[in-house]
């Protein structure tokens, strides 16, 4: 319709120009008040009134906006500086990982899924690997469970450090950003030492972990824990009572606990609103029931509570890591089931049977009886669940992830409508969305 009108209008203008009478065609200016009067006349019984102050401006924030923490586009309706409506537009980094997983053998899916939410790769792996282990009924050795928890908690700290650094940067705290990335690098060093890669480590394998931790790893982690404690003290001394930080975060972006539950929000956002929902306590997976740690909750649910909850979570994670280093059980680090786990390398040159198992597992993979399983874990951003459906072949029929960032992003409109644009940036930062996880 619009196109036709445009061309008609163009033609009129051209004709008018040809006649040398440009401007005479549209000398009658139609104002908005004329329009409302006309509407009121046409529709009897309804008064259309003009509010002279109201002028809505629709702004596209993103997709390439540094404060969106990824490739997120926000269509924001602004009235002055106040956000009146907000629609997140996603899909700019859609990679089709879930679909690609259907063409891979079960063990080859692992490097794929860890590339979704690129800040919580150990959690992605645990969600998927745990689901497959439940499908085939495989028991994970105790040492492997503890090693998994060790790496996941280090990963939680790493993820929160990136969140804290970028969020503080959005509020103008440059120094915190550098301190966070300095400490994040130390955590990544421990990953490099034990798994061989700083990110996307494929360390968790079906039945356990890929290899045992190297010699000297315990000392390295202990040193990192000490450095992190100093680091957390530094962020606290910079932010906790900083007047600008207090003004910017307190009572901003508050959503009631009931509304958050309705929206399906989990993780630190929900805990900041006062709901002590933590799958590490509720879900009872891996070694968590044996470990002693607290669940930090907030009272109001504003930006300041979210900051405090995440910072306290980092301290609790350090507590868990120290307990694991003290009580790491000895034993095998991968299940001794040759049907599902690769045989040890030393056996390949001596045992024909092991070599056959090895060839079979690497080329065809193992077959899984038809069934489906949903396995949730507590990721740094909330409930990360993996749904795996098996159809009897050696490749999963469906792999689907419940990404916490995706679900949490729904709450952004509730948090920001009625607030200022500057607070929208702050609230989005405190929401901690990872676009790689949202789009998958």
């Amino acid at each position: 319709m619009a196109r036709v009108e445009d061309t008609l209008h163009d033609r009129e203008l051209r004709q008018a120009g040809a006649m040398g009478a440009a401007g005479t065609l549209r000398d009658e200016e139609i104002t908005v008040s004329d329009f409302t009067t006309e509407l009121s006349e046409r529709i009897p019984g309804v008064e259309f009134e003009l509010e002279p102050e109201q002028e809505m401006l629709t702004v596209n924030m993103g997709p390439h906006h540094p404060a969106t923490h990824g490739v997120l586009r926000l269509v924001v309706d602004l009235e002055g500086e106040v956000v009146k409506d907000l629609k997140p537009v996603i899909g700019y980094v859609h990679t089709g990982i879930e679909k690609s997983c259907e063409t891979m053998q079960y063990w080859k899916v692992i490097p794929f899924v860890e590339r979704m939410d690129y800040l919580s790769y150990f959690f992605n792996m645990q969600a998927y690997v745990g689901a497959v282990e439940q499908l085939i009924g495989l028991e994970v050795p105790r040492r492997a469970q503890w090693l998994r928890v060790l790496h996941m908690e280090l990963n939680r700290i790493h993820s929160h450090l990136v969140w804290l650094g970028t969020s503080a940067l959005d509020l103008g705290a440059m120094g915190v950003y550098f301190y966070c990335f300095r400490d994040r690098d130390r955590v990544l060093d421990t990953f490099e030492m034990s798994t061989g890669q700083r990110m996307h480590t494929r360390y968790f394998q079906i039945g356990g972990v890929a290899e045992d931790i190297p010699a000297g790893f315990e000392q390295k982690v202990r040193k990192t824990v000490e450095q992190l404690k100093t680091g957390i003290h530094q962020y606290e001394s910079l932010l906790d009572k900083n007047e600008i930080f207090l003004i910017r975060t307190k009572d901003v972006g508050v959503v009631s606990r009931e509304r958050l539950v309705e929206l399906g929000v989990t993780g630190p956002l929900l805990r900041a609103a006062g709901d002590p929902w933590d799958l590490r306590k509720e879900g009872e997976y891996l070694a968590y029931p044996e470990l002693d740690f607290d669940v930090p909750v907030g009272t109001v649910g504003d930006g300041y509570d979210r900051y405090r909850v995440r910072l306290t979570e980092m301290k609790e994670s350090l507590k868990i890591i120290e307990q694991i280093l003290d009580g790491l059980p000895e034993g095998p680090w991968v299940a001794d089931d040759r049907k599902y786990a690769l045989p040890p390398r030393a056996e390949l040159s001596t045992s024909m049977e092991s070599l056959i198992h090895h060839f079979k597992l690497v080329t065809e993979g193992f077959r899984v009886e038809p069934g489906e399983v949903y396995n949730p874990v507590e990721s740094p951003r909330g409930e990360l669940g993996c749904f795996v459906m098996a159809d009897g072949s050696s490749k999963p029929a469906r792999v689907h992830f419940r990404e916490p960032s995706f679900v949490n992003l729904q709450a952004l409109a509730d948090m920001t409508i009625g607030e200022y644009v500057a607070d929208l940036i702050q609230t989005l930062a405190m929401l901690d969305p990872i676009l790689g996880g949202i789009d998958r």
């Binding site: 001394s237 009572k241 007047e243 307190k250 009272t299 306290t312 060839f359």
Partner: protein, 176 residues
């Protein structure tokens, strides 16, 4: 199991902004923050002057692949079984096997890899090829400087993977 009440830790709220306290914090807390930042002046820098100084890696670090030969006979370890290509999630390895000539052997087994190519532009460095190889013929090296100007230059052939790489990457010890 659900959470016990004593495991719930309510985080402190911190001071309310504004007022007399706000006026104090605008100076006092800023000075305290400055003490934190200024204290870092006396620490060693954590940065590395990269192109001049290489980042050291741990022994397990997975960098560019290497193909290996037997040290005594000089024959290639790879027998062209294509297990690495089958294990690769990124499908970046291409192996074409051929029969060994008894007069002029290339590898230790019956067959050898006539073509062995790794597309490093596709490789995700997961190391599954290293796990899959039953003969330790392919391992992940420590080299991480692989940038190039053409994509075609990133397809590494057998000769390039067999060649002893220029050792540019320092290795970290256990305690570092």
């Amino acid at each position: 199991m659900s959470i016990r009440p004593d495991e719930i830790k309510v985080v402190p709220r911190g001071p309310e902004p504004g007022g007399m306290g706000g006026a104090y914090r605008a100076f006092g807390e800023t000075l305290r923050g400055l003490r934190t930042t200024m204290g870092r002046l006396f620490e060693k820098p954590v940065t590395i002057q990269y192109p001049e100084e290489k980042t050291p890696v741990y022994p397990r670090f997975r960098g560019r692949h290497k193909l290996h030969k037997f040290e005594d006979s000089g024959l290639e370890k790879c027998v062209g079984c294509s297990l690495c290509a089958a294990a690769c999630p990124a499908e970046c390895i291409r192996v074409v096997a051929a029969e060994n000539d008894p007069e002029d052997r290339v590898s230790g087994g019956e067959r050898y890899a006539a073509v062995y190519e790794i597309n490093l532009a596709r490789c995700i460095f997961c190391g599954y090829c290293e796990i899959a190889c039953p003969f330790d013929a392919i391992t992940m090296g420590h080299d991480y400087e692989m940038a190039d100007y053409n994509r075609s230059d990133l397809i590494f052939t057998k000769e390039m993977l067999l060649a002893e790489p220029i050792d540019r990457t320092p290795l970290r010890g256990e305690g570092e």
